[in-house]
Point group: C2
Chain length 235, copies 2
Amino acid sequence: MHQTFDAALEMNLLHANQTGADHNRAHFDEWGITCLNVMSSPGAGKTVLLEKTLAALQGQLNMAVIEGDMTTELDADRLRQTGVPVIAINTGRSCHLDSQMVAGGIHTLKENHHPESLDLVWVENVGNLVCPAEFEVGEHAKVALLSVTEGEDKPLKYPVMFQEADCLLITKTDLAPYLTVDIERIAANVRQMNPQAAIFPLSAQTGTGLKAWLDWVQAQVKVRSEGASLVGATH
Amino acid sequence: MHQTFDAALEMNLLHANQTGADHNRAHFDEWGITCLNVMSSPGAGKTVLLEKTLAALQGQLNMAVIEGDMTTELDADRLRQTGVPVIAINTGRSCHLDSQMVAGGIHTLKENHHPESLDLVWVENVGNLVCPAEFEVGEHAKVALLSVTEGEDKPLKYPVMFQEADCLLITKTDLAPYLTVDIERIAANVRQMNPQAAIFPLSAQTGTGLKAWLDWVQAQVKVRSEGASLVGATH
């Protein structure tokens, strides 16, 4: 539930959310954790991607997941099968996670999961290509998914998500042969909105293209842990 | 742009939207128009469905479209190819059409398109499986689409849309052979949320299943025009 407001109220709400996001990020930084916020339409493949990614990176990285859904723990339960700790947040009628909800998740992390031992916390947002892009939750980078079945025009029609994303995954490429879709056209439309984003086409189901994505994730963690050592060295 | 509020503000906003929706519906009723509000995730196939539906029903029904998108007139231009009048509304950062935006569309209808000659006005909402379900725009029935590529669990995870829908289209059934998805399971999950909804699996691309949907649309218009004649007869 949400609505369009007058501009002043809108700025106040976004400002309050941003303050909370900065506070969350300060906690992650204190613990040496990288946080990635994963967003997309419903059914673009966020949970399958996380299942495969957690399985691939376990043993190399210590991870946890903050899992947002309007209702049910269906996705949380799927990810728990990997053995990675998962904190489920039900947003009720809210169409996105906000920084206050994620602060609740961080509190649970702190109580139960020794956050200083973690390298990487995933946030899986509510399936929505519009609203989550406007509400930072304390992440270090935003990952957006767009499945090939959604059509080439989506980056142009839903610009905010694509402008905000640091990394854009074009998912379900295994289905491309059965569609009249051009993956290069999708990538070009993303670049038109956001020339800086890293773009990886992949199929989490078959594993095609997954390695480039996993390398990007590990580079994100490495940059941050080296930054932390550097800060340590200057003290 | 939107946010979760305190309950009183939320009720006020929904109440104001509802008053506007009732006002819009009164206009449609006055002109003998049936209005259908079409909603889904981005890329579930709303625009292809409308392209095929407009083409099939032209000659039998006089129609117009109010087309909502955050930005661009890409979909409006596609539908204009059918020759049906299309009024484009750009919602900017808003993640759904509200009754005030649709009132603007109705004003344009009134100025330029002889609304009393129309039988059916389609509203194509912003692609979003969460927010549009809460904002009535003056429609007589809500049509929700869920594509087979989005997964079987979506009715359980995004309950509001499925509870509100009068008609649920399971789209892109031509892709089902390439997926591990059970259309009967999707339908059962929809029924769990909403035992009354009419459910039609179809592929707008191949035409399979389209007839049952077109019959449902015509029945919606017929019920309303007979109701109007009945009202006329009692005067």
